[in-house]
Symmetry: C2
Subunit: 338 residues, 2 copies
Amino acid sequence: MNQKTVIALDAMGGDYAPFEQVKGAVEAINSREDIIIHFFGDEAKIKEELGKYTYKEDQVRITHTTEEINCNEAPAIAIKKKKDSSMVVGIKSVKAGECDAFISGGSSGAVLVGGQVLVGKLKGVKRAPLAPLIPTAKGVSLLIDCGANVDARPEHLVQFAQMGSIYMENVVGIKNPKVAIVNIGAEEAKGNALVKETYPLLKECQGINFVGSIEARDIPSGDADVIVTEAFVGNVILKLMEGLASTLISKIKEGMKSTVRSSIGGLLVKPALKETLKTFDATEHGGAPLLGLKGLVVKIHGSATSKETKNAIFQCVAFKEERINEKIQEYLTPDQNA
Amino acid sequence: MNQKTVIALDAMGGDYAPFEQVKGAVEAINSREDIIIHFFGDEAKIKEELGKYTYKEDQVRITHTTEEINCNEAPAIAIKKKKDSSMVVGIKSVKAGECDAFISGGSSGAVLVGGQVLVGKLKGVKRAPLAPLIPTAKGVSLLIDCGANVDARPEHLVQFAQMGSIYMENVVGIKNPKVAIVNIGAEEAKGNALVKETYPLLKECQGINFVGSIEARDIPSGDADVIVTEAFVGNVILKLMEGLASTLISKIKEGMKSTVRSSIGGLLVKPALKETLKTFDATEHGGAPLLGLKGLVVKIHGSATSKETKNAIFQCVAFKEERINEKIQEYLTPDQNA
């Protein structure tokens, strides 16, 4: 545990990069001495941002890169061609073992492809799912998979349940996390072909706490800790939650400004409302890890603030300290580790 | 148009039946003389409720039934066995042409099965989708399909787009409605196998205004009028919207009560907030029609109030007046109608 955790940070990925990235990184290293941030990106820009802060220089490294991958590029081609991009060089540093984890707010597609192609999967892992934490009335749940690999098979979903359980128990600290599969009814007989085939496999699966189906209506109440689904549905859930929450909140704010009476009331409820909405703010919990890789790759929002960046850094430290990859490996290939 | 519209109303289906059903029906017939409500259910109970109101007796009919289908029963078996249930007798009245439409707040599964098995599909219709209107920032969108027939094929989705367009244009009054397919990215190349196969078919489809993919995040803003997806994803979207809205609103209300200051503010914003949330209340727009049947079957919420019941009745009148089924039939089998 004495060894420092080295975080590869994509300084160019995200709407407010490198400003928010550098700010978040400095906040992280100023609160913990056991972290080293290794920036990948335009050295001059990174140094300019760093110049605004006070921090211990031995906790910072920079690798200058000359290219950037943007969100409009085809991910697979960008990863292949832009060999000197902050994303490719940064991810390769994890593969090479120089860094423990890579964090980026850049193109989701490129992070997903880069993680799988450049880092590679752990032995026995069939697919690497993207698993964001989503806010619920009770705290957070892990929604697994929200990645780009659609049309999953039952055996993929079973591994998602296993890896998700290990993550929630060890990184988020939820003992014996409740695992549920997204379905359109509570009964075992309901669902599409994929869910019907997966359900009995999850029921038989050792080492997870499978509680059955979860209807989408019960996801926001936090009825399950690990919410298993294939990536298309996961992506729909994740984005609908973001879109609906923002539409509803802006409608409510607009409504509060509609009359003089409500405007005064709006000013009075503002602090309490802010506090309430904070509990529904996913950025409190870091980024979305791509699980099952020989290393760790974490996607943060394109709009990530310094707070989200900092929390993602702490999340990577916990991932390493809790030996998540070793635990996944032991669980999936027990014979080889016996 | 002089002919009256006869609505078969399941007086026993729903949490507050027959109270809310009878109340909504009376409100409907007292505001329009061209409607006849034909109740199916326990005659004594229906008459007891009717006794509370003043209305023209020639606008009301009652068929006494002795059985009820509840939500815990397997739909297909219940429809087959409970031949004297309000649901089965009511749906059969549409099949027989005695009634124009059937409305029920009872078991969703039984309504779906009953509609398809007892009424039957229009010629050329491959699948009958359940198509609720969902509230958005701009008004409403039609989410098609949210039914129980999962694992759809591309040709099903194309028909959903066609039937949905006819419904939105003629019943809701949106000229040249924008049709989009739910996807995990905006580009044509994205998506799962079903979406990738369906996309080019929708692009080529004559008579609809296909605008491309819609990401779940953009559904609440109302970017499309007809939102096409297979039933599993549609069901997830519908239920997640309901669940998240209710969780968020109760959190906000709770937050407003957290301090004295916010409680006072809460009282002041209450009327404006109520007005705002009303725009997000789907019950304003009636129920969810099961499209493509030789007749009309509409599912209202189990918790349907008199308002939802009344609006569903008006929706059925518009459906008949606008000759939706004839339009669907002409569109899908143009040669046979030429």
